[in-house]
Structure formats: C-alpha cells, structure tokens
C-alpha cells in the first residue's frame, strides 16, 4: 500500500463494521454450538426448514439440536444482510479503491459461506463442514480488518504519526505464527467434523502414555471400552494421530507467541501498541491451551468446546491484525511523511 492523503473517517461506517464483526463472532459461536451438539443435520432441508420458509418456522419446532441449527441460519441471514449493507456503503463512500474491493470480497465470502453451509446439509457432506468452519474464521478476521481500516487508529497510522517501524524479522515471526494458528484451526475443524467424539480421552497423557499405542488391537480396545452417549463414529488411528498433531501444534504456537511477545517487548518497548497487542495475544493463547485441556477433561462439553473454537478465532484475528498494522508501519516513508503531518520530524527506528 502506498502512502495516501489523510483519510477522513466515518465513525458511523466504522461502528457498523464493528457491529458486523460482532454479529459474525456470535455467528461463529452459534456455528460452533451446532457442531458441538452434533446438530448440523438436524434440519434436513435448505433453504427451507422442515418445509417452512426459514423465517416462518413455528417456534415449537425449535427444539433439541434444531434450535442451534435454525438460529444459526437466522443469524447467518442477518450477517449476510449486514455484510451487504457494509459492502454497498464502502463502495459508495470509501475513496480507497482497494477498500471498496475488500468490501466486495466480504460480500462474496458471506455468500460462499451461506452456500457452503446449505450444501453441507443437502449433499450430506461432512467434508464441506470443514471448509465452512475454516472460512468462517477467515471471514471473521476479514470483518475485523474492515473495522481496522475504517478506524481513526488506521487513519492516524496512514498519516504516519506512528513513528517506530517494525523490524522485518519480527514481522516474519508473527506472520509465520499466525499462519501456524490458521493451520491449527484447520486441524481442529477436521477433528470436529470426524464426528467421532474425543479420539483421546485424557490429557496431558494419551491413553496413559506420552505417545499412544495406535496398533489395530489397541484401537479396537479403545473402541470396545468407550461409552459414548452420542453414538459417535468409532475412533481410528488417523484420528488419534490428528489429535496428537493438534497438541503438538498447540505447544509450538504457545512457544512462538511467547517468543513474539518477548521480542516485541525488547525491540519495540512496552508502550508500543503492537507490544500491548502481543500481550493480549499471549493471554489468548494461554486461555486457548486451558480450554483445550478442559475440552478433554469435561468430555467435550458443548460450551467448553465452542469456547475453544471462539478463542481460536480471536487468536487468528489478532495475529492477522498485528501483521497488517506492522506491515503498514514498515512501509517506506515519503518525503512529506518524513516531516510528519504537522511539520514535526518523527523519530526513526534504528532497526530494519
């Protein structure tokens, strides 16, 4: 992105973008509850619901798993509408051409999500649920980015009142960590859509060992001794491997996020907004580890498992926003910007 003239922010537009992001977050939670309650197929038809117009389903039929699935569809419709309004608003009012097209991308994203969700039901395809869950997280990050780009904070950044550039090594570290988090979310979505319950019922050990026995006899024994209420699919060695990979990735992400926060403290200082953001990021990851353990200890209780999904989404978004801000701060300064908006010579960071 090149340096631009100072942006005029519209607090109403930013506020509406924030509302859309918040509604998307709630939608993520509802979607998480649908999967956690194994209710994804409880309403067999789409876009109708039990043959009714979706908006006219009698409340007496909002029962059991259908409550989560139906309210998820209703809120998805609301988010779709809000995103459409946001897209049109951006197109008509935002002077930045890339921002207008980003709004279009958000619109296309929400439409794709709606279609994916519907097809997952009508085509009985669990695998579509994995794409639906992953794209939901990315869409949430996008809505939060739209909030950032329409905010006064961003306008101030663009005007280059912010002075300290972010070292490229640090930017790369955070970018890699964020991509790892995305990979972890994809792993998690894949695990959840196996519909096999907990592949490993204990933590931090796995079937009483640091590395579980995944021989055919051992897995047959696990299945024989399992007492699953929701009649999940039998577990397989592949699913046990998935969970072990998820645990390993969690450890790697924790170490990397801690390293990022430490490096920021050293290189940018404690007062820098990015350092504070990294602190929040680390707190989120710590919460995520605790929720992951609790998901196992409480036998995949729906509320705990869904909270784990939501905090994962926040961790991805925070990493993405950090990267966006850091890369923006690291763009080369123009002559005008080097004098600052008010003719004040800014302090340049020594590191690159």
């Amino acid at each position: 992105m090149n340096a631009e003239a100072p942006i005029k922010t519209n607090p109403w537009l930013c506020g509406f973008a924030g509302l859309t992001a918040f509604a998307t977050f709630l939608l993520l939670g509802l979607g998480g509850l649908v999967t956690s309650h194994e209710a994804g197929m409880s309403v067999p038809d789409w876009p109708t619901s039990y043959g009714y117009n979706m908006f006219a389903l009698p409340i007496k039929l909002w029962s059991g798993g259908a409550f989560f699935e139906h309210t998820h569809r209703l809120l998805a419709s609301a988010v779709g509408l809000m995103t459409t309004v946001l897209t049109v608003w951006l197109w008509l009012k935002d002077p930045r051409s890339w921002m207008r097209w980003l709004g279009v991308a958000a619109f296309l994203g929400v439409v794709a999500q709606g279609v994916l969700g519907g097809l997952r039901v009508t085509m009985h395809m669990d695998s579509l649920g994995i794409y639906h869950g992953t794209i939901a997280q990315l869409f949430f990050a996008l809505t939060c980015a739209l909030v950032l780009f329409t905010s006064r904070f961003w306008a101030g950044l663009v005007a280059n009142r912010q002075i300290r550039r972010v070292p490229s090594g640090l930017r790369t570290l955070v970018l890699v960590t964020t991509l790892l988090i995305l990979g972890q979310l994809i792993l998690g979505a894949t695990m959840r859509h196996q519909h096999a319950g907990l592949a490993i019922p204990d933590f931090p050990l796995a079937y009483g060992s640091w590395w579980p026995d995944t021989s055919p006899d051992a897995v047959a024994g696990y299945n024989a001794r399992r007492a699953e209420i929701n009649g999940e699919n039998p577990i397989t060695a592949f699913q046990i491997g998935l969970q072990m990979a998820h645990r390993g990735m969690a450890l790697a992400i924790f170490i990397l996020v801690a390293a990022c926060a430490w490096q920021m403290w050293r290189r940018l200082g404690g007062r820098d907004s990015l350092t504070k953001l990294a602190g929040g990021w680390l707190a989120l990851i710590l919460a995520q580890v605790a929720l992951g353990a609790a998901t196992i200890w409480y036998n995949k209780a729906a509320d705990v498992a869904t909270a784990h999904v939501l905090v994962g989404a926040l961790a991805l978004t925070l990493g993405a926003l950090w990267c966006i801000i850091a890369f923006r701060r690291s763009e080369p300064l123009t002559e005008t910007q080097s004098l600052g908006a008010f003719g004040v010579q800014p302090v340049m960071a020594a590191n690159k």
Partner: protein
Amino acid sequence: MIKSTRFLNIETMKDMKLPAALLLAMLALPPVAKSADIVGVITLKGTPPAEKEITPIKEDANCGALYKAAPTTHFYVVGSKGELADVVVSLKGVTGKSTGASAPPVVLDQKGCLYAPQILAIQTGQKLIVKNSDPCVHNVHATPTVPGNPESNQVQMAGGADLDYQFAQPEMFLRFKCDVHPWMFAWVSVIDSPYYCISGPDGKFVIKNVPPGKYTVAAAHRKLGPQTQDVEVKDGEATVNFTFEVK
C-alpha cells in the same frame, strides 16, 4: 380267494409297477439331508465398561418430560452368567439368496426419544418402516458407508407418516441417527440372505432352515467386532458357540 386273485390280476399288477419301482429306488438311494437350524450361545468374558446415563435426555424440554430418571446406554446387554445379547449372527459368504423383497417389513420405532430396537437386522431389499411414536419431531438420518446404499435424511413430525427404507447392498451396523436428539441411534445390519438372527438376552441364537452344507458362521457385536467359526449342517441341528472378550 377270488379277492386275492382279483387283487393279483394282471391289470392290477401293471398299476403297481411304477409305484413299486419308485419305492425300490428310494430305498436304494442314500437318505436326503434336510434343512436344519444352526443354534448356539454367545457369552462375554471380562467386565464391560459401565453404561452411561443419557443425561441430555432430561435436559431436552420434550424428551425430558417422558422420563422420571434418565435412561442409560445399552452398549453391552449381558446376563448374569455372561450371556451376550445384540450379536448379529449370519452366514459369511452366503449372498444372493435374499428373500427380502417378499419378506414382511421390519419396524423401527422412535419411542421415548430412543430408537427401539437399537440393534436389528434385515435382508437386502426388505422394507424397513420407521415410525415416530414420540410427541416431538425427529429427523431420521440413515448413514450407510457401503456404496449402493444411499445416505438419506428426512424430518418426521410427531404423529407423522411412517418412513420406508430399503437397502440393496449388505452392510453391517448401518447407522440410523436423529440429529435433533443426538443420543438416538439404531444399528441396522443388512444381510443378503435369510440366514441370520440376533442373539437374545439369554445369549442364544437360532438361524433357521439352513440347507445342508459347510458354512462359516459370523457373529458380530457392534463394540466388540466380528468372530467366525466353521460349522457343517448335516443331520439335524448344528451348534456353534461364541465367546467375546472385553480386555
């Protein structure tokens, strides 16, 4: 005398030739073996995991009203002497003998927000009728894994019309589930012959009217997997027992 002569006249003797010849031939041939039953008892060794209380039933507004206390799972139905129920016993490798098209339909009911029975078996091409005897909506979601048996998912309102199913391919433990009430499951085994049964609470099973011959009897429990044993149906009832073990 006249009677006996009349009895022995030429015409009479001609009439008796064919039946007599047949009688002699039958006496000369070895005896034809008849169809017989394969019977046995299935037992469980070891202690199965404790059944779990289906607590989500009580938390559901509609289903909770049907119970004073939450029911439990029934993964292992075991008698006092280890008799194991719900084992599907069939003849391995006997295919293409299905009489399902003309067999009476089998009924699977949804009652008390649970499937009844939970383990059942039908033939390929046999009609399976699913009823909803509950005062609430269910969705009937059949999730076969064998190609040729299509997945289907249909809503069934309280008091709604019965749903019919037929499966063309043999499949063990084809799962039926309700996603509105995720604790509801039934496991339907589809067999390509009429030679199958499910062991009862006393662990006993009877596969009726098996033609003479050598067979491999397969016994499968949903949690414990399959076992096989060879048997010969020759003169009368054949017996084969199975012992499953929880380790």
